[in-house]
Structures are given as structure tokens and as C-alpha cells.
Symmetry: C2
Subunit: 387 residues, 2 copies
Amino acid sequence: MIVGNSLDELKKREAAYEIIKDSIESGTGSQLYDLTGLSGGFIAEEEELDLLQTYIGPAIFEDKLQDLGIKHMGGEKIFALNRTSSGILASILALVSEGDSVVHFLKAHPAHPSIIRACNLVGAEYKEYIDLDKFNIENNTALVIITGSTMDHQVLDEESFKKVIEMAHNKNIPVFVDDASGARLRTAIFNQKPACDLGADLSVTSTDKLMKGPRGGLMAGKENYINMVKAKSNEFGLEAQAPVILAMINALKEYNPQNLRDSISKKDKLFSFLAKSFNMFDETPTGVMVSKESLKKEVNSKVDICNLSDTDLCFLWSMILLKFQNIITIPAVSMPGASTTIRVDLSSNDSNKLEIEDIYEKIFKSFNQLLEVCVDENLSRKIIYNL
Amino acid sequence: MIVGNSLDELKKREAAYEIIKDSIESGTGSQLYDLTGLSGGFIAEEEELDLLQTYIGPAIFEDKLQDLGIKHMGGEKIFALNRTSSGILASILALVSEGDSVVHFLKAHPAHPSIIRACNLVGAEYKEYIDLDKFNIENNTALVIITGSTMDHQVLDEESFKKVIEMAHNKNIPVFVDDASGARLRTAIFNQKPACDLGADLSVTSTDKLMKGPRGGLMAGKENYINMVKAKSNEFGLEAQAPVILAMINALKEYNPQNLRDSISKKDKLFSFLAKSFNMFDETPTGVMVSKESLKKEVNSKVDICNLSDTDLCFLWSMILLKFQNIITIPAVSMPGASTTIRVDLSSNDSNKLEIEDIYEKIFKSFNQLLEVCVDENLSRKIIYNL
């Protein structure tokens, strides 16, 4: 194994940084293309930044967020959180007590781990359902949770969504929606309504997912519930801070569902190109991906002997993409333990700087280079660690 | 009562905003002086802001924070949190279990409420001591907490600090220091060492208190403890986000204890001026303050009949300071329920824009105006609500 443990992963990450820093410092940073889909954004004007220096700034931004947030998510009131996970924690702290049950409905397992952790923290029983026929809300249930779109972008249909809300409300139980990517994926791509318009009492989305905002959680909902969550958040420091709120405002202003829809058609085009040359690609809602297993299989079908492990192949390809094609994908820059899947996300800001043909070309070239390099373990090591 | 409930307080706050917004929009915003000491800051260069748009930016800022943070706080490793309260929560989640005891030593009651709340959340027993002779660490204690400086800037002496750490370590119990303002107040003004240099295992400070940083918590400590806190923080979304970390870095770069020491001598000068004209002022470590009781007494000694309540007098004076002297103090702009004490903080960024003589003059003039207005309840109301 070339990258065999966490320390190796850190070394690999540092090597990737080195390349990126050199590129930024030599002034060619603008020729780097971040296609991770994870970069979010931070849009701010000079005068807005000046306002951050004042006592009044934060309050002004909080006020401005209300209209834009409600336009994006529905509901009566908006509250910004440090992360979507903070919003989940705050809601469970506010609405669930020891011994209560929390029931969660989603399209497919697994649920986001922060939901289960927060339930454990307050001492609540947690139950998870993916089948509406089996879905059951016990009488001691304090909160019903719906996940709009899973981490793997599995989207719940609107009928099931409404049915779960109806069942909860028939028992006077509030409904919280984890709509991290869903608030945009469901509405822009699947033509569904915002969760609050479907009757949810609270809904939270990630402002860095499928929009140009900072990492953070934007919550909408009924005023009384938002006030309860806000009070808990302020107690424990879960709310978003002013610089993050400012960047949320500007990302909401810039958000245009058409860009997301465009990324779908770009994705379709890229995928159709790639499918002609490769067997290893899968589609995501806004891009394409290659799992480590698929990559290993594809490589094995094209070279005689490659001794690299599947994860090493991912790291190597990601470093080749970075070093020779200026494309940033997750495995090159990720923290230890992250997924090694190679993804190209066409909703990334930088994807607009490239034609689909160029992206295809860069992927094609880099894969051929991967085939040449991967048969030589020493050379592979040199490229992965940028030696 | 003119400001008699939360709704009135919001109306008052909105009136203050109106004045500030008008001032900013008419281009005279630079003539406003924010002397609340609460504004923190957000210092960032254009190219740093550009880096925030990338996947790599956050990681680069996290790396940069290490050296600067250790220089400021000591310890082996640094971790940035969304707020000091988040750091307290994360530490207690990481180190304390149900049924454990947490023992807290501080100079004076009250402790910061987030400590007690976090103990309640995990089901730990909480005990608080201010007398070293009575201080006792039971055997089931999981964490000893020291507050370096209370919210009212009551600072613990270094000998007691070291003694408590020694007692905890004799029982192999880790020590967490809530050094919100203390990390600077203790070191710059009282010549004490950073908490980690005194042996603390973890220490957290507020980057918006007595320095030009954003609202946030900067934690230093032994690597193994920091790693435990970091893991818990990432689970629940308690860590600081990239824009906030960037602003922390620049505030740490700009931090100079001499500025803080200068604010003390400026404070001494201002206080000596004020003490000649008034009986109502008290000193804080970096400024002066007037409590509602002292204000009411001073006003009563100088006018025949004033029917305003003590809190209304505070709001009125704070609005007069804002409207006619361009000085922002907390009661004008605060959220419902906040303290109505009038403070002038000479460690505020804006205090450098004014001579001490000018500040004295503005306080003096505004107080005379307060005496004229406060006998007329209708006029007082007009000024408080900017009608």
C-alpha cells in the first residue's frame, strides 16, 4: 500500500496542498479548477465587510436574512446555524426529552449520524423507517424527522413527504426536515415544494451544498418552533456568526435554480461522453463519480499487472488530475478517512470555467496517464507524495 | 415606564438602528464611535477572501492558526470553535459522563451559564467554589474547571490558579480553563502566564473580547485533549467555520498587549476626569461604567422631579449619546433582557479615534442633556423611540 494509514493520508494531503499553494503563489491559481462541489463560497462586498466590524453589523445581517431565507425555504421565520448538524442538535435539544421517541423517515439508509448522536445525547429512543407501509409513530414520540435528500442524493417523493407530515400532525407531533441538499435538489430538479410549504414545522438546509454559500445551516419554520431552537442555540453556541450570515445572504441572492438545472444537462452530456469510453462512471444528481471498486476493475481490464490497491488508484488518479490537469477532486485534498470516490461535480463554481468537452478531455488524458503510471509502484508513490 | 417589556426594547433597538443606518447610508458612518467593547472585528485581505471560495482555503487557514494560536495561548495544539460556549459544551461532552462530578473554581460568582447547562445536559453533578480553603475535588470528578476572569472581569490570582491545577493533577483529573477575556486580561494587565503554561490541559478564549477578532472561541491545550474536543465538535457542528478562522488569524496577528495596557492608562485618565464631576462612575479593567442604580441616584441628586425608572434613564442616556454625540453604548442597541449598564470601553477599536478629553466632553454634555430631558416624560419617549 502506498497510502496505508492516516499519517500517509495526511502526507498525501500535504503534497496536494503544496501543488495548490505553488499554483496560487505563482499566480496561476486561477487555472485551477475545483470540481469537488464542496467548496461553497464566500461572496461579500467591501462595505459589507466594513459593517462586520461594528456592533450593529450582525443584527443588520440577521434582519436581511429573513426575507431571502423565507423566499428560499418558506416558513414564517429564519434562523442561521453554524452547521446543519448544529441545527439538528439544537432542534432535538429544544423539542425532545429523555425517554421520548424520535421517528425518522427517509428514502434510504443511512441517516445522517448527527441525528442519532443528538438523540443519544438527550436519551431519546431513535427509530428509522424507509418503508411507508411499516412507518409507525408511537404515542411517546416527541419529534418526527424527514430527510429530504440523503447524503447520496436519494430524494424522497413528495407524496410520501406529505403523508408522513400528515401522520405526524394527526398526532400533534412536530415535523423536522433535514433538507441539507434537498432544499434545492427537491425543488429545482424534482419540482417539489419547500418543506415548510409541505407543512413541515422546521426545515434546515446546508448553504454550501448546491449553492455558493459558506458551510452553515439555514433553518426555516413556524415562528414558535424557530424561537425555541434559537434559544437553545444561543445557550450552547450553535448559531451562525455574522461573517457566515453575510455570505449566506449573498449566496441566497445569487442562487438561481436554473444553474442547478443546467448542471444536470451538463452532467448528462459529460456522462454520455464518458459512457462511450469507460464502464466505470456512475451518475450523481449534479455530476459523475467513479467508486474505488469500479476504478480498480476498469484499470485491471486495461493493463496487464497493476499491484496498486483500489484506494491507492483513487489517490493516484486524483493527484494526476491535480498535477497535470489542474483539476481538484476530493481524494487528493481530503482529510484522513474520507471517501476515496472520484467525483466531478458540475454544480461547482469552477465547472462554468470549462467546456464539457474540456472536462472530458482532461478526464480522458489523466486516465491514460494513470494507466501508464500505475504499473510502476515507485513512480506512483512519487506522484502521490509529489516527491 | 417608557421601555416596559421586550417589545418596547425591540422598538428601542430598531430606533437606534434607524439612526445608525441613516448615518452609514448618508456617509457619516465613520463619525460614529462604537465604544461598546463588543464589536470584535473582521480583518481580511482580498486574496484571503478569494481563498475562502476554494476547497483548500479552510484547511490552509486551520494550519496557519496553529502557530499564532500557540503563541497567544501556549499549549501543543489549537482548535477554533464557533463560540467559547461551544468550546465549553464540546469539552464537557468529550470528557464528562453521566454521574460524574464537575468542580469549578472562580474568583466570584456567577459562573458562565453555559458551564452549568452543559453539565446538566450530560447529567453530571456541578459544584462551584470561590474559596480555596473550602475547595474540594471529590473522587468521582471528571473535570476541574477554572474561570480565569469572570464576565465582570474579576480575575483569579495566579497562585490560586496554580494551586487548583496542582490539586486536580494530583488526582489525575484534567483541568479546563474558561479564559474568555482572561487570556488577555490576565496576561497583558495582570502579568500572569497563559493558562496552558500554568499547567491547564485545555483553555478557551473569546476572540472578540479585548481583541479585534470575530465572535468565536479559540482553544489551546494538550494534543490528546484537543483531539477529543475536536472529534466531538465535528460530530455536532461546534467548530468555527473558515471565514471566522480567517478573521481570528488576522486578529491574532494584530494583537498587541500594549494596546490593552494603553487602554488601562486611558481608562485611568478618563475615570479621574469623570470622578471630579460625577459620583456615579465605576471602573472596569478597560473602561468605565454606570449602573442603573448609580445613574438614578446621580440624576435624583441633580433634578427636582424625574419620574423615569432607572432602566428608562439608562435607555434615554444611551440614545442621547448615540443621537447627539455619535457614541454607541450597549443599552441603545442591545437585545431584550440585556444589561442596561452604560459602559464606555477604551479597548474598543473606535476609542482610538477620539481623545480622552473628547470622550469626557461627550459624556459630560450628554449627561447635562439627559438632566434637561428626563424631567419631561413625553420628550424622553420621543428620544428613546426616535419619533
